[in-house]
């Protein structure tokens, strides 16, 4: 009982914060419109989906196996997107401001 309650509170906080930071990430991408910002926003979207798989499992929509597979699959997606953002910052992202250095 206590476990379910704590898990519910954690999931609620996690999902709401993930949605909030995803909103900020998307707004930043809309402002900048560059590859690194797109990749960072997608990584935050993966974080949000990861939180949602927890909700899906708790409310019975997802089996334990599907929840775990998705969760840890999304870990890889997130890491890959952040690495891609770092790499693209030096190749694709530098489209502005070369002239005022």
């Amino acid at each position: 009982m206590a476990y379910t309650l704590i898990l519910g509170v954690l999931l609620a906080f996690g999902t709401v914060s993930a949605a909030g930071i995803l909103g900020v990430g998307l707004a930043a991408f809309i402002q900048r419109r560059s590859w690194p910002y797109l990749l960072v926003a997608l990584a935050l979207a993966a974080l949000f989906v990861r939180a949602m798989t927890g909700v899906g499992y708790m409310t019975g929509g997802l089996s334990l196996e599907a929840h775990h597979l998705l969760e840890h699959g999304l870990d890889i997606v997130m890491a890959a997107l952040v690495i891609a953002a770092v790499l693209s910052a030096h190749t694709l992202g530098d489209r502005i401001g070369g002239e005022i250095r």
Binding site: V24, R32, I96, I100
Partner: protein, 166 residues
């Protein structure tokens, strides 16, 4: 004359350059309601609308085009800090401004590109120096523009990402 329309007009007067989403959020109204009343306010020239940098901003009628663009940009905390630094220190080299404000060079160039385009700043000596075009008017607008929490969050997020990725 409805109370809602009054409160929209008052909010635009208090926060010139406020954009649509923020108006909806701040006054807790439905988007359609805001659209309807703004249209009425525009028709009797009580409010001016401007599409700037991908957003619709609202102003009281007394601001001219240059001031409207300036207000929209100065709502970005980092743009405001760059302009304030230049007002304090006079014409400066981009590297020095980035250092004073504490931002990555990519953040600085993103903001200055728009500030130059809007005629708030100018590049001198082939871009080796940046300067404020009209110090008095700019200082006045800097006092008026007041970024709200969501704008501050997005601005700080871009500073963080630029700094991490540089």
């Amino acid at each position: 004359m409805s109370g809602t329309r009054d409160s929209i007009e008052r909010h635009i007067r208090e926060d010139p350059g406020v954009h649509f989403n923020e108006l909806v959020r701040a006054l807790d109204l439905a988007p359609g309601q805001v659209q309807y009343h703004v249209r009425k306010l525009r028709r009797r020239s009580a409010v001016v609308t401007d599409e700037l940098f991908g957003r619709t901003h609202y102003y009281p009628p007394e601001y001219d085009e240059w001031e409207r663009a300036a207000l929209a940009l100065l709502r970005r905390e980092t743009s405001a800090e760059i302009v304030a630094t230049l007002l304090d220190e006079g014409p400066s080299r981009p590297v020095d401004i980035a250092e004073s404000v504490g931002i990555a060079r990519s953040t600085l160039s993103w903001h200055t590109e728009r500030l130059v385009e809007a005629g708030l700043l100018e590049k001198r000596y082939d871009g080796h120096q940046l300067a404020v075009v009209d110090a008095d008017r700019t200082a006045e607008l800097l006092d008026t523009a007041d970024p709200r929490l969501p704008e501050r969050l997005v601005d700080r997020f871009t500073r963080l990402v630029d700094a991490l990725l540089e």
